[in-house]
């Protein structure tokens, strides 16, 4: 039942923002379902594959999916995900995380200004 609730929240979140929904699913998997952090991130990735597929169909019907641009950023990202999930197993990544936090904040400011 808790998993169903997590799925519903992640689905709305994902389609509303065009993201995977992992940012809400991972903490919920840890806090509500009692799954360890690393297993939660792994499981979230697989769940997102289903969520995002549904999102592609729904946005695709509205003509809002550009395949070329998706490949341009998505294929390099597949390589990045292999690296990221491997690093997760062995190194502490706090410096990298702070870098991402700065990058996301900068992009947020840019979106507000633009």
């Amino acid at each position: 039942m808790r998993l169903v609730a997590i799925g519903l929240v992640a689905g709305v979140f994902s389609a509303f923002f065009g993201v995977g929904g992992g940012i809400v699913a991972v903490p919920l998997l840890i806090l509500l379902a009692g799954i360890p952090e690393r297993a939660a991130t792994a499981t979230s990735l697989m769940a997102i594959a289903i969520t995002a597929s549904a999102g592609v169909v729904v946005y695709g019907f509205r003509g809002e999916v550009d395949v070329g641009y998706a490949a341009l950023v998505g294929l390099p990202a597949a390589a990045g995900a292999l690296a990221g999930s491997a690093w997760q197993q062995r190194i502490r990544t706090s410096t990298l995380t702070y870098g991402f936090a700065v990058l996301l904040t900068a992009l947020g400011v840019w979106l507000l200004a633009g």
Partner: protein, 131 residues
Amino acid sequence: MSTTTILVAVVLGVAAGVLAGLFGVGGGVLFVPVLVALGLDQLEAQGTSLLAILPTVLAGTWNQRRYGNLRPRTAVVIGVTSVVGVELGARLATQLPEITLRRLFAALLFGVAAHLVWRTRREASRYPGSP
């Protein structure tokens, strides 16, 4: 599109993938602003981001399965129920004015940035002394 633009898009794509692999997310928080920067409107960027997420999470899932971290049954339950939410989320997004959606997305980025810092600090306090 200039070579520099393509190069920046590829580098940020790789960064989105690293973020996805590290934190179990799709990478959409990076894809969407990058796609907006490339000239897509907010809604188109979001739809395209969802497609870009697919190869990203498939690669991450494949790797995590090798490490034995994956719980496929849990993932399927969450994934399948999320489909119900997806239609609602997309309908809400299409009804909002472009500028509102973009501002909400900016707020999301600030929230995610704060969340990542919090998660890392919590982890650091749990394992003190590690580099």
